[in-house]
Amino acid sequence: MQLDELVRALNLKVSCAEGSLKRQVRGGYVGDLLSDVMANSKEGDIWITRQVHQNIVAVASLKDLAGIILIQGSEPALDTAAKANAEGIPILVTDLPAFEIVGQIYKLINP
């Protein structure tokens, strides 16, 4: 599934890198500990997290993740947003908590 389809289906707010929504979403990873996400996420995963500091962009970029979804209405920090725009890493925002948004994503990618 393409990232922009996910955005539409889940009514996500596109906060950064609007031009990079053609990426393929192959799976998902939930985690707030960067070392865990570095170690265990896979290429093409959509990453769901509560962390907003700029290191999330570095992790997403290094691991070739499809994008980042910030939960519970969290907005990226200013330097995070600047970095994400510069590197073309999409940051999306939902008001839902992780469990709920993941449940919906799971259903979409495992119909």
Partner: protein, 156 residues
């Protein structure tokens, strides 16, 4: 004051003692439960206590947490011998943190602690002196009683 004061107790918290972090909050929660304080207030006090305790363990050499219960409110007062907070306004900002890797490993240190303490208390006052320590006073009010006209005014 203190005519309506029912209870006061202080607890010591040891800095750096991650294994025991939460012990005091657990005790305070049990005390309030036993006193018959309403579930919602017990929960709010337990949360602010726990975040306070984590802060003392994470940053200070040692500290105390004092629980004061009156008819209308619960007050939590923390005092620590720690590095102090140079810029309180900045520290209150969600996401701002000076936590060490060890603290982050535990699932804290994401810059949400003070925000949680503010969210779950009705009043929060922080005073801090760099190199000396930090004091935090938090009050959780029992509005059901305060709104009752027959009760005496808040005395905390």
């Amino acid at each position: 004051m203190r005519e309506s004061q029912k209870f006061e107790k202080s607890f010591d918290v040891q800095g750096g003692s991650f294994q025991n972090a939460g012990n005091v909050s657990g005790q305070i929660k049990s005390i309030l439960k036993e006193m018959g304080v309403s579930t919602d207030i017990v929960r709010r006090v337990a949360i602010i206590c726990y975040e306070s305790e984590i802060n003392i363990v994470s940053y200070a050499k040692k500290g105390t947490i004092t629980l004061v219960v009156t008819d209308e409110a619960v007050k939590i007062e923390t005092k620590d011998e720690g590095p102090g907070i140079p810029d309180i306004e900045l520290a209150m900002k969600e996401g701002y943190s000076t936590a060490t890797a060890a603290v982050r490993e535990m699932g804290f240190g994401a810059g949400m602690g003070l925000a949680n303490m503010k969210k779950y208390s009705d009043h929060l006052i922080i005073t801090s002196e760099v190199g000396i320590g930090t004091c935090v006073t938090m009050i959780v009010m029992d509005f059901s009683k305060i709104l009752h006209p027959d009760l005496p005014p808040l005395t905390l």
